[in-house]
Structures are given as C-alpha cells and as structure tokens.
C-alpha cells in the first residue's frame, strides 16, 4: 500500500496541512507562512493563505479558479524574491566578515613574528620566562 494522500485519507485529515497542531515554534512559523490549495468535499480547489496575527494563525480564503491561480503565482514569486534577498544579505554579511579577517591577517602575522623575535632575542640575552615575565637567569649574564 502506497503512502497516504489527501484523497485516500479520511475526511477529517483531507487537508494537506494541519494548522492547529503544529508542535514546534519553527514548524508553527513554517505553517504560518504556508500557502496552500485545499480540496473541499463538494469539489474544486481553493487557494488559502495563512498568516500569523497576535500569535495565532489566521487563514484567509482567497478564491478558486484562474484568479486564485494568478494570486498563488504572485505569492510564490514574492516568496522567492524574499528568499533571494535573504540569501543576498547573508552573502553580504559573509563577505563582510571575510573582509574584516583579511584586514586583520597581516597585522596578526606581524604580531606573531614580533613575538618570536622578541622571545629569541631575550632568551639569547640570558633572560628566561617565569610566570609570564622575563627575568635574567642568575649567573648567566654574558658580555657581548
């Protein structure tokens, strides 16, 4: 037996989306932004929009037939545009972070080089590090 489809389900579950039992906030958001076609028992497909208002999901009946098809296509295009905009924004932010890191990289490299050189010179001059501070090793001072 194949997967249950709206047509084969009992009338109570005939809707493709169950708006009243979304278990998680994320799913609730998805449900709230979902748009759907519903097939009614008396026949015909109806375009329904859902949106969230004051924490509740409100379903808005749009219509049926060619008019509803046009509205659905418009909604789909709007959603795709919004998605593209969000991706563009994420991309811009990622580039911004890369740019900041690229600006910092040479200065960090310079810092590391300076630290190694300072340490090498200090150790060579007879200092040793103790608890993060350099001290002259006792009896190890050497003349030039």
């Amino acid at each position: 037996m194949g997967p249950a489809t709206p047509a084969t389900l009992p009338p109570r579950y005939s809707s493709p989306l169950c708006y009243t039992s979304a278990p998680s906030p994320i799913l609730q958001l998805k449900v709230a932004s979902a748009v759907a076609w519903e097939r009614r028992e008396r026949g015909g497909r109806y375009y329904i929009r859902s949106r969230r208002e004051k924490g509740r999901v409100v379903r808005e009946y749009v219509g049926t037939g060619p008019f509803a098809e046009i509205v659905a296509a418009t909604d789909r295009t709007r959603r795709e545009l919004e998605k593209a905009e969000r991706e563009q924004e994420r991309d811009r932010q990622r580039r911004q972070l890369e740019r900041l890191e690229a600006l910092a990289a040479p200065v960090e490299e310079l810092s590391e080089a300076a630290e190694v050189l300072v340490r090498a010179n200090l150790v060579d001059a007879g200092f040793h590090r103790r608890k993060g501070e350099y001290r002259r090793a006792r009896g190890k001072a050497r003349s030039a």
Partner: protein, 186 residues
Amino acid sequence: MPEEKPGVLELSEDAKDRLTELRTVSEKAEAGDRNARKRLRQLVRSSSPEIIAAASDVAGSAAWMLIKTISAGEPLMQEALQERMHQMRAEIGGENPTPLEILLTERVVAGWLLVEVLEGLVSAQYQRDVTAHRVPPGHIIQESRILESVTRRYMAAVRELARVRKLQASGPASFHFARRVYSRGG
C-alpha cells in the same frame, strides 16, 4: 567599503621557516639545552635582520591597505592618515630606536590603525537605513569577536614594547641586543 582585494601581505616562506626554527630553538634554549643556546645565538644574528626587514615590509603593506580602506579613496584623508602614522612612529619609537623597537613600534601603529578601521566598519553596520534588513545577532557576535581579538593584540603589542624597553634599560649594556646585533646593517 572598497571592494579591492588586498595584495600580497604575507611573510615569505623562507621568513616563516626561519621564524619556526627560531621559536623551536628558543623553547629548547629556555629549557636549558646548551647546544640550543649556541644555535639560538647564531640564528638571532643570521636571521633576525632579514625577518625584521620582511616583517616591516608586511607592516608597511598592511598599513597602506588599512589607510586605503578607511580613506575610501580620498587622497586628502590618505595623506592625513599617513602623516598621523608617521608622527606616531616617531613618537612611539623615540630617539635612536633599536631595529627590534622599530618592529615593535610598527606593530603598535599597525594595530592601532586596524582597531580604528574595524571599529569604523563595525559601527557602520548600525548606521544603515532602518528599512534595511536587520543584522542577525550571530553576525554581530562574529564581528565583535574579530574586533576583540584585534584589540587584545594591540594591547599586547603596547605591553611588549614597554617590556622590551624596561628590560633593555634595566639590563647590562650588553643587553642592547638589537642594536648590537643589527648595527652592521646600519
């Protein structure tokens, strides 16, 4: 922000190899290895001038890139920043600095400029049109981490320069290592 990519701003592979060797030998010498101490003395004399020169080049290129970023192509601003950095170098480096002090001064100046640039870029994020998309908290946190790391490095650079000067001042005359070691280079 200008989209121009930064040029080559890295130490050469040779300089990196020498730094790695210096680090390793320093650790061994600090641990009491006599042979390592001898080797360190040779390395400090042979490698340090070249590494200081290479690192100073990186510092110069980095500073120029930062100046170009913050001035956004305005020649007057570029001139003003270059002059400001020149003054800072003179002020921090003091009279007759050793090559190591010059390098540490370059590090302080470049670090200061980097902090200024990043603070400017990050704060610009919050001055955008209110109708624009809100910057997500994750992005703000990442930017703040970069800025925090850069600020920490800058403060460490200031401390390091002060420490080297203090040690030079308190140590015997022979401790003016950098001047002694690199004086041959002029």
